[in-house]
Symmetry: none
Subunit: 226 residues, 2 copies
DNA sequence: GACAGTCATAACCGGATTGTTACCAGCTTG
DNA sequence: CAAGCTGGTAACAATCCGGTTATGACTGTC
């Protein structure tokens, strides 16, 4: 359990971090768009709190980028409670929104609420980029398209979505989908990937979603426009 | 299963609808008191989400009017500082309220909770679309037709009606109807569904009511000509 | 006891899903 | 180049799953 706070205002950063640490949350911080993204990648926090005004890119952009990579809750901080900001943040996938000034107690309460909910949610539906998977209904949404998938395909996508943008090793996929011991069953994975690619219309040479990383594994692309 | 959202703010309407559709809920919308009432009559949604500020009449009035016509859950949306008015909303029969700004996840979670609650308390008779079940009399009405059904068929329909428009898992149906689980009893469910389909005249290939979701379960359709 | 209604059980069929085998192309290595 | 690896593709077999039919047990009623 770890929280990320991104704010360029040193005072605000200190106040927020102090409040959260008082509540026994480990906190990592960053003070710009770039460092925020880097720290997120490095630390893999369970929740992110983003200021809207950031050097190097707005908090909105960071929010959008993070939402494509993770399902972790995102909370936005802003000085002015403008409706336009709110709508934009929520559209970008933010989960909550706090207007300055706020009390530390409020902050901690909202953070706890977000974490509790995120913990409960568990399954339905996972998403990354333009892909959205409902594992219970065995339904995969790609933009407007709705594609019925099989149980095995669903399990494959679960792990790939959970690690979108990162390479997932062949062995990990095998274990997650079949619960198998290592190398013997490469062929199963080859077939499964092949059939899934056919279903969603993906070309292995020029993959829009399901990229092959030779002799390592597969990766779900979240930035298809390179 | 269908939700109605009434709000005069186009942005808010878009955000809320988007979130609910992402969660696989069919959504119909309206932007005023009058259209809200009209759409409710036309679409017969299973839950209504009302903003308080509406042109043509307040959300409170609409809430009161709808409550006299339906048992469907009603959720109110309020802006900060209108907390006092919430008491009034609850007295008028609202089931839940959300204070702006709220996260889409919160919204979806609360909607699901309301629907779950509404589905459970649904004793006899229950209805969805053109189906109406009287579990005590073991009588199923489809439009004008009245069909006698058996106790087991009634229990099957109870759960399907309570989750109309949503997939209900095979295991859940087994537990609800027979109270025991385990793979061996798929056959029971097959038979029950088959006989029920014969009784109401439903074609598995082109189901008007009882749709099969392969390797998941069954679903009661409420938008047959979708 | 005859009868109808209800429900459990088994068997069969066709299609979907999954597992298996084989083959091909590209790449690396020696 | 040959050998050996990789990943993509095809074809086929085995299995699963849902729909259907048939049958018998059990109940209650007449």
């Amino acid at each position: 359990m770890k929280l990320l706070v991104v704010d360029d205002d040193a005072d605000m950063l200190a106040v927020v971090s102090f409040a959260l640490r008082q509540a026994s949350f480990p906190v990592v911080t960053a003070n710009s768009y770039g460092t925020g993204l880097a720290v997120f990648h490095a630390e893999q926090p369970d929740l992110a709190i983003l200021d809207i005004n950031l050097p190097g890119g707005s908090g909105f952009e960071l929010c959008g980028v993070l939402r494509r990579e993770t399902n972790a809750p995102i909370m936005m901080l802003t000085a002015r409670g403008e409706e336009a900001d709110l709508v934009r943040a929520l559209e970008l996938g933010a989960d909550d929104y706090l207007t300055k000034p706020f009390s530390p107690r409020t902050l901690v309460a909202r953070v706890k609420a977000l974490l509790r909910r995120a913990g409960q949610e568990g399954t339905s539906p996972t998403r990354a980029g333009d892909l959205s998977l409902d594992a219970e209904l065995l339904l995969l949404r790609i933009g407007e398209r709705e594609i019925r998938i099989t149980p095995l395909e669903s399990r494959l996508l679960q792990l790939l979505l959970a690690n979108a943008g990162q390479v997932v090793h062949t062995d990990r996929l095998l274990v997650h989908v079949w619960g198998h011991r290592g190398g013997g069953d490469r062929q199963l994975l080859k077939q499964l990937v092949h059939r899934l690619r056919q279903k969603i219309g993906d070309d292995p040479e020029q993959p829009r979603w399901l990229a092959t990383i030779p002799s390592v594994g597969y990766m779900l692309r979240v930035t298809p426009q390179g």
